[in-house]
Every structure is written in C-alpha cells, then in structure tokens.
Amino acid sequence: MKTKMLTCLTLLLACGFGLFVFADSHEKEEDMNKLVFPKAYKTTAVSNGGKISGVVKFDGEVPEMKKLEITKDKAVCGVTDKFDEALVVGEGNVLKNTIVYLMDISQGKDFDKEAKPELDQKNCRFNPHVQLIPVGTALTVLNNDKATHNVHIFGTSKNNTSVNKQQTKNRKKMRLTGAKGAEGPVEVKCDIHGWMKAWVAYVPHPYFAVTNEKGEFTLEDVPPGDYKLGYWHEACGTNNKEPVKVTVAAGGEVKQDFTLKLKEAK
C-alpha cells in the first residue's frame, strides 16, 4: 500500500518538476499580452448554440485622444485629423477595439467562408484599427491614397512571420498571407507614415469578437458548456491570469460585461 503511494508520489513529483521546468521557460511577460488559443480545434455543426454578449467599459480617467502629427505627404494625409487610437472610449465610458473571446473552446462552428478580411489605407490611416483574421486566410490590403505605403506586419517572438511589403500608389489592392499559425495580436505599421498603426490577430476559431463603438460584443452559436472568457486590449492588456468562467446553456444567452483599466506602466 505504502509502496504504491510512494510510487505515485514519485511520479507526481517528477511530473510536477517537469511541468515546472516547462512552465518556467514559457511563462514570459510578453505572453501576458497575447491571446490564448486552444491546443486543437475541431469544426462541428452547432445547433441550438448559446450566445454570449456584453459591453466593455473603461474604468479610469479618460485621457484626451492624442492628435497625431502628420509629418509628411500633407496633401494626402493631412486632409483629415488623425488621433492615436490606442484607447477609444465612447459615451458612457464604453471601450472600442477590445477583443473578447473563448480561450478554451475545442470544437464548434466553422468560420464564415465568405468573409474577406480587409485593411484599408485611406488618408494615411489604417481601418479597422483592430481586426481578426482566420488562420490561413489572406488579408487584402487596400491603398486608397495617392501615396506610397508599406505594410509592415510585425512578427512575434516565436515566429519568423514578419511581413514588410511596399505598396505604392499604383497598387490599389494587395493580398498578404501572414502567419501560418494562430498568433497575435501583432502590430501593423506603415513605416513611411510612422503614425499609421493597426493590429491584426490570426485566430484559429471563430469565437472571437471585437467591440464596436458602443463597446458591445457578441459571440454566437456557442456549443453548450463551460468556458473561459478572455479579453485583449491594446492599452489595457489581458485577463490571461484570471479569465472569467461562463456557463452556456443550449439556446441560452449569457451576459458578461467587462471593466478594463489601463495597463500599469512598466
């Protein structure tokens, strides 16, 4: 009896140590700013799925949006005023551009195959500021300016997937294949116009949403079950340490609001 217990204990200890080594080398600070993806995802037909919706609000003093200095190509870029979109807070302190998603979903619906993610460059501003791209789908980048841009999608620490392509005024449309695996959100920048910044997240399943001007998000057709609900925001960070647990019933609706604070300055 005791022998068995000790054996178990030994194995447990060994595993624990192994895990410890593993976790130690991987739990880096930068991971805290990333999305959490399930190990695998299987598409199945979802019937009578549930719905998760809510509003993301900002808690804290709302700083005035910083007006960006247009340092060049004023004829094209200067026609509209541009602001730093890192923190867009609407009436009632609602927070735009927050990604809300299910961290641990392992099966569910397929992506909307019709959707073609687009990143527009107009008057030297990226639109949208935050968007989701299904893994393996090409991003169509539009240039609606009489100016040369370069689309620089940053790589992450783990993948050599940095993409940096010039898009001159002659090229109105360019399709870019980015990361082959799930990653992000990663920064998109136009180096020529240093103020142009946006974010893209390559996601492995469709249970991701970006909050709109009203701070609202909706995740639909969620198979019934228990999930961890996560968020990411450029300026407010993530809740990777303490995800919210939700239970979705068949055909049911779950309301879950979030209140975010600015990331602590390092």
């Binding site: 022998t3 030994t10 040369t148 050599n160 010039q166 002659n170 294949t177």
Partner: protein, 565 residues
Amino acid sequence: MRSKNVVYLILILGLLSVYNLIFAQDAPEVSEKGKEVYEESCAHCHGTEGRGDGSAAENLLPQPRDFTRGLYKIRSTESGQLPTDQDLFDIITEGMPGSSMPGWETSLKADERWEVVAYIKTFYDGFKESETPPRQISLEGKIPYSEESIEIGKGLYTQFACFECHGQVGRGDGTSAPTLQDEWGFQSWPANLAQGWNFRGGNDIDDIYKRFIGGIAGSAMPMFEDPAFGLTIEQSIRYNELDNKVEMTEAEEEEYNQLDEKMGNAFEILDLMAEGSADEEQKQSYATAMKAFYEKSWHLANYVKSLSSEKRPEPAIGKNVLRSQYTEDDLPQIMDAAWDTLDSSYFPLVGQIIIEPRQFNPTIDSVNAKSFYNDTEVAFLFTWDDRTNNTEVKENEDTGKTFEDAIAIQFPVKIPKSPTAEKPYFLWGGRKAVYLWEWKASAADKITELTAKGINNAEEQEIQGDLQVEGKYTDGQYNLWIKRALKTDDKKDLQLEPGVFVPIAFSAWDGANGDVGTKRVISSWYSFVLEPVPSSRRFIYPPLVALLSFGLLVGLREFVRQRNT
C-alpha cells in the same frame, strides 16, 4: 523504511535524468565547442540565451541581434525566409560595418565560426522545423555597371519611392526617416547611401541587390515590389512621365490608361500567384513581369552603388591634411563652383565617451573640409551629412527629445612652437585654452567665437564679429562657409600665417540623435595649413642649376684638355 526512501530518491533522480535525456534529444546536434565559443565571444552582446540582451547591449544601437526570433536582417534569401548557414557564417566572418559587430575572421578559426553558426541556430526552433532549405535570391540576369544603367536606376529610385526614407539624393534624409523604428521599437535610421562603407551587409552591387529583393527583416526596409509591375523599363519610365503631367492630351490619356490597365492586370496575377491559383498563361505573364522587375532592381542597385565611394576615405593625416589653397582673387562664396576644384579633407568623427553624458551611438560619420586663402583672409567650407535639420529643441513622445544641430571647429589659441611643445587637450582644451568657432543650425548666419579650457568650461569671447558665416542645409547635408581675416586684433584669437601647421579639431551635434552639450561626436587633433604659395624660385633655380652643371662640365673638359696639352 529509510533505505526505501533512498531508493525512491534515486528513482526520482533517475526519472528526471530520463526526462532530461528525452529533452536533450530534441535539440539538434550542437557541439559543446559552439556553445563555448559563443559564450566566450558573443554572449556579452547577444546574451547567453541569444536574446540580444548581453551586458553590453544597453548602449548599442543597432541593438545586438535577438536570435530567438529568427529575424535576420542580412540574408541572401527571399523575404520571409530564414538565412542560409553561409549567410550567418559570412556575417560572423565579415561583421556588420557601421555597427558594433566586428568581423571575426582573424580571431576565430573557420571551424569555430561554423560551430557558432550551428549554436545560434538552436535559439530559434524555426531552423529545426523548416523542412525545405530557404529560397535563395537568384543573381541571374545581372546588369553590368555602366553609366546608362546608373541613369535608368536614378529614374527608378524615385519611382520605387526610395526617397521616402533615403532622401532625394540618398543621404538617408527622407521625410520618413525620423520616425523609423525596428520591430523592437528602437530608432532605426535609413542608410546614408553616400556612405557605402557603413552598409551592414556590404556594398557590393550583389549585396545591394539582395537587400532590395529580400528586404531587411525586422527593420522598416520593406521587401521591394515593382511599383509599375508588368511594365517594361521603357513603359515604366513613360508611365511615370505621364503620371507627373498636370494635363494630358487625349492620346496621352489613352496611353496612360492602357499602361494602367496592364499594370492592374499584372498586380491581379501577382495576388493569384500568391494564392497559388494562377493558370498557365498567367504564370507566363507573371514570369515576364518578374524578369522586368529584376532588371529594374539591378539598375537600381547600380545607381545606389554609384552614390558612394568604395571605401571610407583616408583621414586627413600626412599628405591628406587640410591645405588652404592660395588665390590672388576674392575668396569664393558658399555655393561657388571654385570649391569643386579642391579635394576635400576627410575628418572621421566618433562618439564622445570620455565625459558624462556620453554618446555611444553617433549618427554623424565625418566632416569634410576645404579652404582657400588670399593675402588678407581665409575661407573654409565644412560639409557633413546629417539626416535631419533640427533647428530647435523639440519634445516628441515617439522619438524623444531632440535638440539643435551644431558644429564647433577648434584650434589652439596659440600654435605650439615645436612638435613636442604642449598642445591644449584635444577635447575643448584644459590647462591650455582652445579657440572655437561654434555654429548652430537655429541661427545659420551667426557664429560664436569661444575660448574654452575644458568641455564644460567654454566662454563666449568678448569681441565677436571677426567671422563671416553662411550655413545651408540641403538633402541631408550641411554646408558651412566661414571667412575670417588672417590676423585679427583680438588677442584671444588664433593668428594665421602661411606655411605654419595649425592643429584643428571638431565637435558636432546631431540634435535628432539626442546630441547636446557633452553628448556629441568629436575628432582628435588634425592639422591645417595655409599652403605657402609655391615660390617662384621653383622656376628660376632649376634652370640656373642646370646651366651651372652644364658650365661645370664644359669647364672640366677645358681644364682636362689644357692639362693634356
């Protein structure tokens, strides 16, 4: 019981070692040697874990490479590809000019360098995982270096929008230059194409071509794309011509639209190719368009090559010292063509790291100087490259605080009488004072005479106005013209005399690089001389000597003849 515990302890250890064994087998075969060499020679900058965070990294810009991301700037492979082993080996061997990465050819044996290549690859899993070797950039269809090619390349330079960052004539002064950052968020200045000796990946035409095609990963330098894809060189030039026309005739409009459509189709095919859904015919026209693009890139590479001298010029030592040329006429003004008749003297500059605050990452490479003098005055033309024209102190959230650009030219107050006599300390004097001309970009027509007895101990002279000055900033370059009388009434000024070698030194500030006060670039003492007018004796004495020697010969013959008789 106790003995059993020991057994279990051994068991645990055994399990752990098995775990370690499995773990170790995952790693590619790397010899201890590579690790050893890496830790001895590389880790102090690149960090023991290859994160580019070694103890010396803090003060370096460009920052040491972070090997864990697999992003390598200098590659012979296509965009988005890993470098080849040979690429890594070459960088280790030759170093990266203009950065703090030296070549290791002399200090590491070739096999040691290969071991290091194998070792740094272990920092990034992608090397292990990639099944196919990285696609290399083909150098086929290289166009020979020629005047015509350079001319074509010059046109393409504008069309390819290189000027956005590298500036109109390539001095790295494009309008986007001040805001460029690399993916790590560090300021990343575009290359000054007139200083090829600082190109990180070398300045052979092939090297330049590879940077176009492959981009410089992690930096703002994108993978190039033909802005007039699908058009031949002639068509591209024509398209650009039409594009810049304010008004087009109907025929021109039609021509323009045709070219535009051709281009549009080619771009369409480019996207189809990327998705892998192009048909045979499309593949064919893609190949034709790519061929034209490669051709254009070779012309562009030839043009970029033509912008710089092959090697860093020789510093102004020995025969190269700054020699002021005598002229009987009035001295030339700042933009006078007369200056082009002189060779310039090259004074390399380095960061001031002697007195805090220090400048570890200078952006000004050097200052060039020329000079003329006549019987009463001397004029100088100082030229130096600076990517930005900073005329005021500015606070910027993204790029930090910037200051004004400036330069100071330094002489001793009194010329040392002999080579062994004491000179003032080269860094703005000390026990002995120096005489300085300080010019700031904010007041281009003003220059201040200073007397200094130390870098933090400079005083404006009471008597100003001995100097005439004009400063200009164009295309990433300052031209500063200064004129002064050879002799002044001010006792604190240096007095000049032809034929006397005068020590000269420089300090310069690039405000965009945070240069202010002691944070600056400096030079050692060099020499400057009002080159004496070659004396007219050189036309009188030699014929006299010749005549004399002839006379001597004749005399000798006569003497011998007479003795014989």
